[in-house]
């Protein structure tokens, strides 16, 4: 722990369960105060703080060996967290490994949901905040900027981001495979529960504009429609008006079928040239399985969606080996560029012998 140079210390979802991460999570005020405190540390040349729901990490350049230890202590004191417990769960990496970690985090390789996009923006925000505060310098600027390039390279040259891994996003992806664009797609949400709401939001986030909600309790449908900036429809009209919609998301708790084969056939009679996509997220099922036999009608139930999400997740995991090889190569190259700058700050970096690196 007591070593000068580039470092990253913190806690992530790998070793810190949710209950611990809750205690370690920094509010914006706490983060600002902590950074203010860090700026008074002698020997801490540069620093940046990454604070997300799955990780809190401190990147820094230490000119003296005890700086990282002081950062840890200050953080634990502010969060009223046991330093010994933090010592047990914490992430603590130096120099090239710290660079590699940053690239892996930025590329989404270290995320709970491997390959997710959000983390890249979060790391960029953390860097931008540190930069605007003036707490970055030549080392962290280079490490972050080049690290972002490396992360982008990984994301675009591998399949790590391909295929959706959440059920709601899989449903949206399927709709895109059918309709190409969701801008003109009309979506009916039958059932106003949490699952349906999530799916509806996923559709809206991908450009779906025309959303209608139908629920047995009309007031609940109205409430959700207002929240989603959508329109509401009486539940009884779902079958007669089925032909008006392109995507039908069913997520009710009804014990019987909500969409019958006859209703689906009737809907297709009204709009024969346009496909109809049913997403049945209910248990027991809402849509008659026989509708899948109709030409130009596509039906996916909860198991189908979950299976696709799981396959995509497995495919991303399989891609990790390839991604990590790229990250190792890129971070090694980046560290060789940065090491002289670290040395120029009065810090003596340790370069691993080349043959040892090649064995990694």
């Amino acid at each position: 722990m007591s070593q000068a140079g580039l470092f990253v210390i913190g806690a992530t979802h790998h070793r810190a369960p949710l209950a611990v991460r809750e205690k370690l999570s920094l509010s914006s005020d706490a983060a600002a105060a902590l950074q203010e405190e860090f700026s008074t540390f002698s020997g801490l040349k540069e620093f940046a703080v990454l604070n997300t729901c799955n990780r809190v990490e401190f990147y820094g350049v230490a000119a003296t060996p005890d700086v990282a230890q002081r950062v840890s202590a200050a953080f634990c004191a502010r969060q009223h967290f046991d330093p010994a417990e933090f010592e047990r769960i914490r992430l603590n990496l130096r120099d090239r490994e710290a660079v590699q970690h940053l690239v892996e985090v930025s590329a989404g390789l270290d995320s709970q949901m491997v390959g997710e996009n959000e983390i890249f923006g979060q790391v960029k925000d953390a860097y931008a905040a540190a930069q605007s505060r003036g707490s970055t310098g030549p080392v962290l600027n280079r490490v972050f900027q080049k690290g972002f390039q490396a992360a982008k390279h990984v994301r675009t040259h591998t399949a790590i981001t391909e295929g959706q891994v959440s059920v709601a996003n899989v449903a949206v992806e399927l709709a895109l495979n059918i309709f190409g664009s969701l801008a003109k797609a009309r979506i009916l949400l039958v059932g106003a529960g949490e699952i349906g709401e999530k799916t509806a939001k996923a559709f809206q986030s991908r450009g779906a504009a025309a959303l209608t909600v139908a629920s047995r309790r009309f007031e609940r449908a109205m409430e959700l429609a207002t929240a989603l900036n959508a329109s509401a429809m009486p539940f009884e009209q779902r079958e007669p008006r089925l032909g008006e919609f392109d995507v039908v998301v069913c997520a009710t708790s009804a014990p019987d079928l909500v969409v019958s084969l006859a209703a689906a056939k009737g809907a297709m009679h009204k709009r024969p040239a346009r496909p109809l996509f049913f997403i049945d997220q209910a248990l027991p099922r809402d849509v008659d399985p026989a509708v899948a036999e109709i030409d130009n009608v596509f039906l996916y139930n909860l198991d189908d969606l979950a299976k696709i999400a799981e396959e995509n997740r497995a495919a991303r995991e399989a891609e990790l080996v390839k991604c990590r090889a790229i990250v190792r190569e890129k971070s090694e190259s980046l560290w060789r560029q940065v090491a002289p700058q670290v040395e120029a700050l009065g810090v003596r970096p340790q370069l691993a012998p080349l043959d040892a690196q090649e064995q990694v």
């Binding site: 399927l174 495979n177 309709f179 396959e311 495919a315």
Partner: protein, 309 residues
């Protein structure tokens, strides 16, 4: 050195580029990767240029659009499909249309080059001196190119439909465009093909209504039947009676029938006799390319035709 290359050498070169585009795509798909849109497009474009040179040389040799035998017609169909792909293919970036087009072009060009009999006969000056008849024939064969591309989008539609129905979305199925996009492009291609073939028939009709005996009945019937079948398919599609899978299958079946019809049309032509020579002096409508040229005494070999230039 390039000037010494024969038309067939250029066309073999074009076929090589098309085959390379197909091989590259196949290799990428076997490795579970996406065929490179840029690489495929570039290979197809290079093949297209070589084919343009080859067909240009042949066209100059025969003194018109090179549509004088089975070989030239297949080459021209492939060229037409590629022309269209190079224009509309841009909107299909990152899709498999380039891969399928390369496959179709490679098949048509390699097949036509590999069967010597298809290029054994050559009719010089097949259009007489009438550019309208040449336009008529070129439009007719170009429409076949459009229908060829339509058959490719139909295959892609069927694959996409199958992948969604059977819930197999991984692998190279993920590179296919959406069902609706494929359906829309299919309708547009069918409309364009029917319109181009109608224009061709319209140009030809100006001549054969004056003298019905100037055109071979078999050829006339088959050509009109092809147009009527495609026009019917378009009407049924727009009417909502021929949709999705059935529409795609219909387009595939029609293209197969259209290609097969080239054989009977070709066989329906006979070397001119002295009695028919006078009729032959008049420009020939409707697939005039299949007709003996007005000033030809008989079929000549391809070598002979080029030697006369």
């Amino acid at each position: 050195m390039l000037a010494e290359l024969t038309d067939r050498t250029w066309l073999w070169g074009a076929a090589g580029f098309y085959a390379a585009g197909f091989a590259l795509g196949t290799f990428a798909l076997l490795r579970h990767g996406r065929p490179s849109g840029v690489a495929t497009y570039t290979l197809i474009a290079l093949g297209y240029l070589l084919q343009l040179v080859g067909l240009g040389i042949r066209g100059r040799a025969v003194g018109g659009c090179p549509l004088g035998n089975h070989f030239e017609i297949y080459q021209f169909i492939a060229w037409s499909a590629i022309t269209l792909y190079l224009v509309v293919g841009v909107t299909f970036r990152n899709s498999l249309l380039g891969y399928f087009t390369a496959c179709l072009a490679a098949t048509l060009t390699v097949l036509s080059l590999s069967i010597p009999g298809w290029d054994a006969t050559q009719r010089a000056h097949i259009f007489g001196s009438n550019p309208w008849i040449e336009l008529h024939a070129a439009l007719a064969v170009f429409s076949y190119g459009v229908f060829g591309l339509l058959s490719l989008t139909s295959i892609m539609f069927l694959l996409r439909n199958h992948s969604l129905k059977s819930k197999q979305l991984g692998g190279w199925f993920s590179f296919l465009p959406s069902v609706l996009d494929l359906d829309h492009i299919g309708v547009r291609l069918l409309g364009a093909g029917v319109a181009i073939l109608a224009a061709s028939l319209g140009v030809g009709a100006v001549y054969w209504v004056r003298d019905l005996s100037s055109v071979n009945t078999t050829k006339l019937v088959i050509t009109i039947a092809v147009w009527v079948a495609y026009a019917l398919a378009l009407g049924l599609r727009l009417n909502g009676r021929l949709l999705a899978k059935r529409f795609a299958w219909a387009c595939l079946a029609l293209f197969a029938a259209a290609l097969l019809s080239l054989g009977p049309v070709d066989k329906s032509r006979h070397p001119m006799t002295p009695d028919t020579a006078s009729l032959a002096r008049e420009p020939r409508p409707l697939f005039a390319a299949f007709q003996p040229a007005p000033n030809d005494q008989a079929y000549q070999s391809g070598q002979d035709a080029r030697a006369t230039q």
